[in-house]
Each structure stands twice: as C-alpha cells, then as structure tokens.
C-alpha cells in the first residue's frame, strides 16, 4: 500500500511534495542504517552525521572535481564512509555506553571542524554548491524514482543483514554483552563490522541527499544531524526494522509543517520532542504493537 502511494505520488502530488517524500526516503535509509547500531547493536552512536556528511561531500567532490560517473560516486561515497567508520569505530568501540556516545560525537565534531575550516577543499561554511546531476536525472521526478529505487535496494540489503546470523549476534550483544562474549563471540569485531556497514549506508544516504540538494553543507556533519537521526529511530521505534523509517517520515513532516506556519518552529520541535520522549517510550511502532497486543 505504501509502495503504491510512493510510486504514484508524482502523478497527483506537487513537485514540492515529491521532493519532500524524496527527502523522507533518504533519511529513512539513514535512520535504518543508524538503527543497526542503535536498536540492533544496543549502542548509542551519536556521530552518524560524520558518515552522512562524508558520503555527501565525497559524492559531490567526486562528481564535481573528478568527473566520476554517478553510480560509481554513490558506491565510492559509501565505501569512503565505511573506511571512516573503520577508523572511528576502531577507536570508539573501546568504550561503551555514554562514553561511546561521547567519543563518536567527538569524532564527528572533529570532522565537522576540519571540513568547516578547509575552505579550499570543501568550501568551508559555504559548502559545496552546485553539484551537477546528469540531465536525465535533473528533473525532480526522475531523481525521485531513482532515489526510491536505490533506497529500496539498500533497505533490502540491510534487512537481509539484520535477519542473518550476523544480525542475531548483534542483538545478542545488545541483550547481554558479557554473556555473548562468554559464548565465544568477538563482540568488538562484530560491533565494528556493524558500525562499518552502518557507516556505508549512511554514506550512501548522504550522497543521495547531496544530489537531491545539489550541494553538501557542513550542517550535514554537525551534531544536530547526528542527534536528529537518533531521534528518528527512537520516535519510530528502535526495536523494529522499519520503525526508524517511520520516525524519519514523521520528523521531516513535522519540521516541514511547523516551519511553514511559524518562525518559532524550534521551540515547537523541542516541545514535541520532549513530549515524545516523556510519553512515548517504544516509539510509534511500539505504540502500534501495544494497541494490537492489548
């Protein structure tokens, strides 16, 4: 049903709506990829913006400076983010809990600082503007379908990963890390692999977003982005696969709606966030499951 809606949207929706849903799809991917470490792995990755931004900038730079063909750019963006994840993960996974959250946040802010200052390479706080799309993709609708396709493909990959033995191990780690280690599983290595996979898909999402926005900006790497994606996961429900996607949809919808009505959208977002955090523990999916179960 959702599929039908997504596929037929351009027929009756305005270009603005198409672009909005496009954005939701990209962030859905970003959120689901993040949830691999959050909901399935049981960690608190607060630096995911680093991968999202890295993918965005990588894609933009490759396209603009090196003229690399688009499909390769996307894959390269993912691989680059994955490499970044290897480095960051190697150092961060030494710590757990809030300390892991802090160190991932710290790394992502470091990358933000470097990108912000390195004007000659990244455009600094102006960002990388004017990322070109091949003319076949330039129309909003064309890119929308491409994006949907890529996002769907990635989600299927992620779903496969989550349903595989690897996915089960991650969840075991989440439930009881010590016990999983006793059973003989190298917890750190599995978390690192998960972190890298997560980073790869976050990078792809970032690349897709850079193409959508025709630019890569430092906001992509800044901590609000990291926190927002975690929020999307929580809102949608971390213990389900599609929950984060739902969360992404809701958050983007809210932001779009609220900011069109009032200049003071920050406070409303904040209040909504606070209310949700206070009163809706399992996220939307949790709520639905409760209703069904009860």
């Amino acid at each position: 049903m959702t599929l039908a809606f997504l596929l037929t949207l351009p027929l009756y929706g305005s270009l603005f709506h198409v672009r909005l849903v496009n954005e939701m799809a990209i962030f859905a991917l970003f959120a689901i990829a993040t949830n691999l470490m959050l909901g399935y792995g049981g960690t608190m990755p607060f630096g995911q913006a680093a991968f999202f931004g890295a993918g965005a900038y990588a894609c933009g730079l490759l396209l603009m400076e090196a003229g690399v063909p688009l499909p390769l750019c996307l894959i390269a963006a993912g691989i680059l983010s994955a490499c970044l994840a290897v480095i960051i993960g190697f150092f961060s996974l030494r710590l757990t809990g809030i300390y892991f959250a802090m160190i991932t946040l710290a790394f992502s802010m470091m990358i933000w600082g470097v990108v912000w200052k390195w004007r000659s390479f990244t455009g600094g706080d102006d960002g990388l503007v004017g990322i070109p799309l091949p003319s076949a993709l330039a129309p909003v609708i064309n890119y929308y379908y491409l994006c949907l396709g890529i996002v769907a493909f990635c989600m299927i990959l992620l779903l496969t990963i989550v349903r595989s033995p690897f996915g089960s191990i991650l969840q075991a780690i989440r439930e009881n890390r010590v016990r999983t280690e006793f059973v003989g599983i190298n917890v750190k290595r599995h978390l690192l692999i998960g972190f890298v996979i997560s980073g790869f898909f976050c990078g792809v999402a970032g690349a897709l977003f850079a193409l959508l926005s025709r630019g890569a900006f430092t906001e992509y790497i800044n901590y609000p982005t990291s926190v927002e994606v975690v929020l999307m996961c929580i809102l949608g429900g971390v213990f389900s696969f599609a929950g984060p996607a739902l969360g992404a949809v809701v958050v983007i919808l809210l932001e779009s709606l609220i900011s069109s009505y009032t200049e003071y959208w920050l406070v409303i977002m904040g209040v909504v966030l606070i209310l949700l955090v206070e009163f809706v523990p399992g996220g939307i999916v949790g709520l639905i499951r409760q209703r069904k179960g009860a």
Partner: protein, 304 residues
C-alpha cells in the same frame, strides 16, 4: 610574511597578553565545564542544554544590569542573583522533565536535553529578541592593569580570580561537606548510594541545580566580554564537551586542566594559525581520544 603566518610582530608583551586572555576565558570555561562535569558524574547525563543555560545566564545578567542601570552598581547584583535564577530554572527542569526519564535510560535523557536546546533557543529569542546585545564592564573593572611591561584588562584578572575562587569553593564543598561526600559517592556508584538510604532523586536535583548555577555564573561572568547572542550556547557546549573529553569525564581537576589547555591553545593558535585555531583544539581532542580516551584525569572505565 612570517612563515608561520603571524601577521603581527611577536613580542613578550603579546605573548603575555594572550596568556591572560587565554587564562581568563579558560577559567570561565572551567566554571561552565565544571557544572557539566558535575551533572555528568552524578547523574550520568551529558546535559546538551548546558550551553543553553549559559546563554540564558548571560541574557539574564544583561536584563538585571538593564533594570538596575540607574543605580550604578548594576553588575554585582546580576552576578549574585542571575545564577540563582538559572539554577532554579535548571532545578525545575530536572524535577519536571528529567526525573521521570531516569528509568527509561540514558538515551531518552540525552534526547530530552537536546530538545531543551531547541526550546531555550526560541524562548530566548522570544524574550530577548534575536539581536545580540552587550553590557559594559562593571564599574572599577573597566580599566587596565599593567605589569611585566604589558597592559591587561582588569576584568580579565577578575575572571581569573573568580575562576580560582570557584575552583576552591567546589573542591571545598566536595571534600569537606556532607553534601560533597554524597556527591562523590553518587559519582562513584549511584546504586550504592540509593541503597545506603540517601535520597537519590533529591541529590540529583540538587546537583543539577548546582550545575546550572555554575552555568549561569559563567554566563553572567562572560556577559561583559564580547557580545551576548543566540549562538552562544552552541559554541560553548562544544568547547565544554571538548574540555570534558580532554580533562577527563567526571573529574573536577580534569575540567580545570582541560579548560585551561583548551583556552590557552585557542588564545595562542589565533596568533599563529588564525585560520586553523579551531582545528588545533580538535587535534588535541583527537590526540586525547586516541591515546587516553578517558581523558587526562579520568579513570579507565568500567561500564556504568
């Protein structure tokens, strides 16, 4: 041009001046970061909104100064009362919003404090307007003091003195009072403390109150320096965060060292590498994370 990019002649005088600049902003940073560290050690929450309390503290100080402008002693009441207003704000926030999230887990608490940032930003904008404001230095501290052949703003020296006072005040409280004992115990093990019969929720509220008091104080102290603007929260929370990472999570002395290092590095980096002064700080953070991720004064961790 000088190979290192220095655009002004480097002299002992400049060196000394930057030292005092760095020292004074370092102590303000320490006061702010100590609040964050305190909240973190005891409650285990990284209060993302700490910078917001700081910002509101600065704006509040400007309001008090404005109200009392006629009396000629406007700054000191702001310094004395402002932080308490912020502390009360913090206490209320903790009791009403944060407390019920302790059972939910850390993630929700973090998200809540992030939500607070958003709320505070817009409320500040609504109450005080979007434009930056400034307040003058307090009477008696507008001038300069000279020694060592250089001139230093008196206010900077005042900040250093305040910072040192607050440090010893905090150390004194922690080491010599019942409250301090409880705080240290809670920082060490929250569960044990509760089992020993200490009213943990009240302790948490009190610690949050003190942490926000420190944030408000830092804001009030920083108010006469530079301008008071809506972006203050973001820039300071990042620095605070770096201080805690560098100095050691949960250590007061670590917060002091971290703050001074960060501020001094920034003060000197601006001289030598004006373009990359931010990166210098991040490089230090990177080094600490790579070599000793629990910070200079932190302890290698057991999971909380």
């Amino acid at each position: 041009m000088h190979p290192l990019g220095v655009t002004m002649p480097l002299s002992a005088e400049l060196f000394l001046q930057q030292f005092i600049t760095g020292l004074s902003s370092g102590f303000v940073l320490f006061i702010l970061a100590s609040g964050l560290a305190l909240i973190f050690s005891v409650l285990g929450v990284l209060n993302f909104a700490h910078g917001s309390f700081y910002m509101v503290g600065a704006f509040m100080a400007s309001t008090i100064v404005g109200l009392l402008a006629k009396t000629g002693v406007s700054f000191w009441p702001a310094l004395v009362f402002g932080p308490f207003v912020i502390a009360i704000l913090g206490g209320v926030t903790e009791i009403v919003l944060l407390r019920r999230l302790y059972v939910r887990g850390l993630l929700y608490q973090l998200l809540l404090t992030y939500g607070l940032i958003l709320v505070f930003l817009d409320v500040t904008k609504a109450v005080w307007g979007p434009r930056p404001r400034t307040i003058p230095r307090p009477f008696g501290l507008e001038g300069w003091v000279s020694f060592g052949g250089a001139n230093f703003p008196s206010y900077s020296l005042f900040l250093v003195v305040m910072g040192v006072l607050i440090y010893f005040l905090l150390v004194g409280i922690l080491k010599r009072t019942q409250l301090g004992l409880r705080i240290r115990a809670a920082a060490s093990s929250g569960e044990m403390v509760s089992a020993l019969g200490i009213n943990t929720p009240r302790l948490f509220s009190l610690v949050f109150f003190i942490g926000c008091w420190l944030a408000g104080l830092a804001g009030a102290l920083a108010a006469p320096v530079g301008s008071i603007s809506l972006g203050m929260d973001a820039s300071m929370i990042i620095k605070c965060f770096i201080v805690i990472v560098v100095g050691g999570m949960g250590s007061l002395f670590g917060a002091l060292i971290g703050a001074l290092i960060i501020a001094l590095v920034e003060a000197y980096a601006i001289l030598f590498f004006p373009e990359f002064s931010i990166v210098c700080i991040y490089i230090i953070m990177a080094l600490v994370l790579l070599i000793r991720p629990w910070g200079i004064c932190g302890k290698p961790l057991i999971e909380r």
